[in-house]
């Protein structure tokens, strides 16, 4: 019975796509997916191919995609998810283009282990078996830089600061246009404002379920970059592009629902016991999941600099140096109970980042982890000895340390699956080793005059 309903639903969704393509004169359908590093991949098909692709999938050689390579078989199938079908709002009507996110399968139809979207789907399914559904709302920061002909340089567009009224700015116009596009792409924006650093901006998305949100983050990154480039500006989600000013984070608000009720809610307005165990899980496994939430060499420049980026594994109600913030929610608004995980940066693969956060939090619930005491003082002002006394751990200081932590983690291996887990470690070790061999401008400046 249920399969029958699902079948009808799928049928109606395919039909919906066919009819819309026909009625709106869609010329091109872009099939989107994501490599293991979280980079957007796109392959375009014509409407004539749509039916076959829905039925059989689109076969392609995965060996060219980062993290898709395998020893025996390199061909995989892209299977578009019709529920994600949208018309691209920035394309003129006579060139109408539609998009769909794809799941990647093996030729026999089984989920391909290297597909991050299905890794997240698997983690969501597991959470559902325990009766939980996670909702996410990220705050995505990024920089606009002047787009130069001769190579990229991080040159800020404006020197405006936090909440400055810069209505006449190119940046404001860009942001307004971007918000409009995001709404047209079914991505509701909660707030958008100018951040602390020059040319830095933030877009806060309204919560939705984890899979939808990961898709939205991918679409947002594409939309922000695309709209910027059309206006001769370069947008970047690089975590720390400028020295001496704060980097870009992707603080992510999380809440967990069971049978339609927010299980983080407690009538007192504090976090429920279930919520506390979830946070305890995040804290306990924080060092293991950091390589995934902060996957670049550069990510650790943001974390180490401090500002609003957490360096220590701690939680607080209102302390911006903490890894997890637990805001007090209104008693009459149980749905708004949530926690905020502040390590993540916008260069992560959102599918994998949401997967490991969900896995860590659920582990805390399943095993009844106990929440350590709140860090009420500013940890940055403490000596290392004082921190040690409080039992405060630091996040990994660099990518190498983060990879060491990840490599030892059963939780991360299980959440990502062997294929991605091992490929990621290999790929990132190489990245770290290449970085380690670089002679940096810092060294030239500091050492060349003196030695």
């Amino acid at each position: 019975m249920m399969n029958k309903i699902q079948e009808n639903r799928n049928h109606a969704q395919f039909d919906y796509v066919f009819r819309t393509v026909e009625e709106r004169g869609v010329r091109l359908i872009r099939l989107w997916f994501t490599d293991v590093l979280g980079r957007h991949k796109s392959v375009a098909i014509s409407p004539a191919e749509l039916e076959t692709v829905f039925e059989e999938g689109l076969q392609f050689d995965g060996s060219a995609i980062d993290g898709f390579s395998r020893i025996q078989e390199s061909d995989v199938l892209a299977r578009p998810d019709p529920s994600t079908f949208e018309l691209l709002p920035w394309v003129a009507d006579d060139e109408a283009s539609g998009t769909m996110f794809c799941n990647i399968t093996n030729l026999d139809g089984t989920p391909f282990a290297g597909d991050p979207r299905q890794v997240l789907q698997r983690n969501i399914d597991q959470a559902r078996e325990d009766g939980y559904e996670m909702f996410c709302a990220p705050e995505i920061e990024f920089f606009y830089f002047a787009n130069q002909e001769n190579g990229l340089q991080p040159i800020p567009l404006d020197q405006a600061s936090y909440f400055d009224l810069t209505t006449m700015d190119v940046a404001s116009d860009l942001r307004r246009h971007t918000l409009h596009m995001l709404e047209a792409l079914s991505i509701p924006v909660e707030y958008s404002f100018h951040e602390d650093s020059p040319s830095q901006h933030e877009i806060d998305l309204q919560y939705t379920d984890a899979l939808n949100m990961a898709d939205s983050v991918m679409t947002l990154r594409l939309a922000v970059k695309k709209i910027a480039i059309d206006r001769g500006v370069y947008a970047t989600f690089m975590p720390k592009p400028l020295n001496g000013v704060q980097g870009s984070g992707m603080h992510t608000h999380l809440s967990l629902f069971s049978e339609g009720k927010n299980v983080f809610h407690d009538p007192s307005g504090n976090l429920s016991l279930t919520g506390q165990s979830f946070v305890a899980g995040l804290l306990y496994h924080a060092r293991e999941i950091t390589a995934i939430t902060n996957q670049l060499v550069n990510s650790y420049k943001r974390i180490n600099e401090g500002y609003e980026a957490p360096r220590y594994v701690s939680w607080a109600r209102n302390n911006r140096s903490s890894l997890v913030r637990i805001p007090v929610h209104k008693q009459d608004k149980p749905d708004s109970a949530r926690i905020e995980y502040r390590a993540v940066d916008p260069a992560c693969n959102p599918y994998l980042a949401f997967s490991v956060m969900l896995a860590a939090g659920l582990k805390g619930i399943k095993e009844n982890y106990e929440l350590p005491p709140e860090a009420t003082t500013n940890l940055y002002e403490m000596s290392r000895a004082e921190q040690k006394e409080l039992g405060v751990a630091s996040l990994p200081a660099n990518l190498s340390e983060a990879l060491d932590e990840m490599e030892e983690s059963d939780l991360v291996r299980e959440a990502l699956g062997d294929h991605i887990f091992e490929w990621f470690l290999r790929n990132k070790r190489t990245e770290w080793n290449e970085y380690q061999r670089q002679v940096t401008p810092f060294e030239i400046e500091q050492y060349l005059p003196n030695w």
Binding site: Q13, Y16, P82, E86, S186, P188, T208, N212, K261
Partner: protein, 227 residues
């Protein structure tokens, strides 16, 4: 194929249900205007057979409610007893034909067929209109002020469900089970997310087509039964 006839009351008199079944009509019995809305098939009611001989007051008030809406229900066949004819006043357009009870099965069949011939075979609308919003059920396209609305499938389904039932307040749970189906996990929050997206796509000017009814749920368009 005509589906589905609204039949009042529930259960209908056995001779009526037997007659409808024997002739292959597809029907569903309801007891009041609320279930006329909630039990309404996705494509809307095709017409109504209202038995007024046992509960004349309720039957006529139901006819009134079915007619005085954005999408009045036609055709309606009224079944009344001979005794009721004496003081029956026709001063409102509440039905399209009537039949005296106890009715003759062949007569009922001819009257129904005649009604559907007159009003067109089935009245399932291909278009749902509300103000400047138009939904084409056949092509899945929606327009507002004549410009197309680009919706995802679920946004379209949610809008269609609501626009077919203007004025009625739905809880998030009802919307979830009616629009998403029971195999969906997201809970009521998913409904909020989609309502928020729909409002954004309808545009500022039309966002209030969907109103939030505090601590109850959502309503499309103006209140229907004057509540």
């Amino acid at each position: 194929m005509i589906e589905t006839l609204l039949v009042f009351p529930a259960p209908p008199p056995p001779e009526l249900s037997q007659c409808l079944d024997a002739k292959g009509w597809i029907w569903k019995a309801i007891n009041n205007s609320d279930s006329a809305l909630t039990d309404q098939p996705d494509t809307g009611w095709a017409g109504g057979v209202i038995v007024a001989d046992s509960h004349p007051k309720e039957a006529l008030s139901l006819c009134r409610q079915l007619r005085q809406t954005e999408n009045p229900l036609v055709p309606i066949l009224l079944l009344i007893s001979k005794g009721q004819l004496n003081n029956f006043e026709v001063n409102e357009n509440l039905f399209d034909d009537f039949c005296i009870t106890p009715f003759h099965p062949e007569e009922l069949e001819i009257r129904l067929n005649n009604l559907f011939l007159k009003f067109g075979l089935g009245t399932q609308p291909d278009l749902i209109k509300y103000g400047s919003l138009v939904l084409n059920i056949e092509t899945y396209q929606a327009t507002i002020d004549d410009s197309p609305l680009d919706l995802t499938y679920m946004e379209y389904e949610l809008l269609r469900f609501l626009a077919m039932r203007p004025g009625k307040v739905f809880t998030r749970e009802t919307l979830l089970s009616e629009v998403w189906g029971y195999d969906y996990y997201g809970g009521g929050r998913t409904v909020d997310v989609h309502i928020r997206r729909l409002r954004a796509k309808l545009g500022e000017e039309h966002a209030n087509l969907i109103s939030t009814v505090r601590s109850v749920g959502y309503r499309f368009g103006q209140s229907r039964w004057g509540s």
